[in-house]
Amino acid sequence: MKRELKICLPGYKIVYSLCYVVILSFIQGVAFVDEIGGALDANLALLAVVFCAETYVMERNGKRNEIIGLYPMGRKVRMVFRRMAVQLLYLCLLSYGGFFFFFWQRPVNLGVNSFWFLFGTYGLAVTATILFWGMLSMTLSNLFKNQWAGIGLSAALWLVVVYSLGKSALGNYGIFAYGYRSLTEPGEVSWLLGKGIGVLLAAVMAAGVPCILKKRG
């Protein structure tokens, strides 16, 4: 795992991801603690898209794909999963920490839900978000053998889901339903459905990794 850490988490990635969350905490105004999760959730999806796109295609960029191509498929798949695990874990930890970056704005708690409920549900929501968008970006990059294709297509889908389709068409089935939840309803977790679908789709994409590696090298 130490080697995966060095490969997948070079200094520049840590710096830009940290900067991203810090900048978000400056430009996204929040008055209530209840709003922090919504402010972070969709934006962290974009970070996951950029972060995970190169997971495997970095081998192509480094011209290593032809030697990797000689290795047994099982080992290659394990390599991809280990890299994804490292990146997703880092992004999740950053996201959990990022929740507290907003406290310089001195948000108040609406009092509808406890702080720990808000933080816990945010943790669940953002974990599903990172899982789905990270897997999506990695899968599309592998399919098109190009990380920019993965980032571009994922970002295009992100735009569609976060703006037009997000609330009206998908409702609670949407991956960003958490951001549209009612802040005044105590214990509101109907958005879990959308996140559950996201996790399920991420699992399907994970199951497709061996097939994609076989077909697309």
Binding site: I7, G69, L70, P72
Partner: protein, 289 residues
């Protein structure tokens, strides 16, 4: 191990035929593949690594045919050093080799032992804790060579390993190849003739996807015998006049004029002699035919 290539053709989607109906037998030992840039050497090598599927013909490794169902078994026996290889810049030399060794399925203990052995052989032991990005071009090629050897391949494919290296590093890489070729089949591609002259006894010369020559170095030299001539002319104008008439393979200013190497089927109509032939002369002769 013997590699047999029969009527192999590779045509890309854009219609370009990189390898055109070639036959070749690669026996054990170092086999050189010589040709200008774009001759099809890398494509042929990529076919042999199973990275590219041929559009026609067949390839066999001993009795095993290059077919999808056999790729797993074939790949296990191959070690490959591509022309360009950028290994993980943030890993140290040892970490990088351990990582690639693990990925290739070499058991951990054996992998460590092999890394120690090859690091020592390639004089990289003292650099094993350096990050890959801190290494010189030659050192990176040596690390690349070690990664190709980690699974103890029976068939080693090395694509232009000396490109861009200084003479000292080139000699070092060549010597390492000779050391590591024992009991192996090594296919060594290059466009640097002296690299092959120093390492192999059999070679193939490739141009535009076809072989102009396959056989031993000695036979290639014999083939060129009587077709290479050396003469000295008084000035550049005389040399230019000869250039109009003959294929000049080299020019050199010497005391009292200019020394020319002429490729000609018969003796040129000027005073000239036959030089001691080099592989480069023979290569230029074959390419000029």
């Amino acid at each position: 191990m013997n590699i047999t290539i029969k009527d192999l053709t590779v045509t890309f989607k854009n219609g370009i035929t990189a390898v055109n109906h070639v036959d070749l037998e690669i026996p054990q030992g170092i086999f050189g593949l010589l040709g200008e840039n774009g001759a099809g050497k890398t494509t042929l090598m990529r076919v042999l690594t199973t990275a590219v599927k041929p559009t026609g013909g067949c390839v066999a490794m001993d009795q095993t045919l290059y077919e999808e169902s056999n790729y797993g078994a074939i790949r296990k026996k191959i070690g490959y050093l591509p022309q360009e290889l950028n290994l993980y810049p943030n890993l140290t030399v040892r970490e990088c080799l351990e990582y690639l060794g693990e990925l290739s399925g070499v058991p951990k203990k054996a992998c460590r032992e092999r890394i120690d052995f090859y690091l020592e052989k390639t004089s990289l032991l003292e650099h094993q804790k350096k990050k890959m990005r801190q290494l010189s071009g030659g050192m990176k090629r040596r690390v690349g060579l070690i990664q190709a050897l980690l699974n103890e391949p029976e068939f080693l494919i090395i694509d232009e390993p000396t490109t861009g290296l200084d003479p000292e590093e080139r000699i070092r890489i060549r010597n390492l190849l000779v050391d590591f070729s024992e009991n192996r089949t090594v296919l060594f591609s290059t466009h640097v003739v002296e690299d092959l002259a120093a390492t192999c006894s059999r070679l193939a010369v490739m141009r535009k996807g076809s072989f102009l020559y396959t056989g031993t170095v000695r036979e290639l030299l014999d083939m060129a015998k009587g077709h290479i001539w050396v003469c000295t002319v008084g000035d550049e104008a005389e040399a230019r006049a000869l250039e109009q008439k003959y294929h000049i393979s080299s020019k050199q200013f010497v005391e009292g004029g200019m020394r020319l190497k002429i490729i000609s089927e018969g003796k040129p109509e000027i005073p000239c002699s036959q030089p001691e032939l080099t592989l480069e002369d023979a290569y230029v002769y074959v390419m000029s035919r």
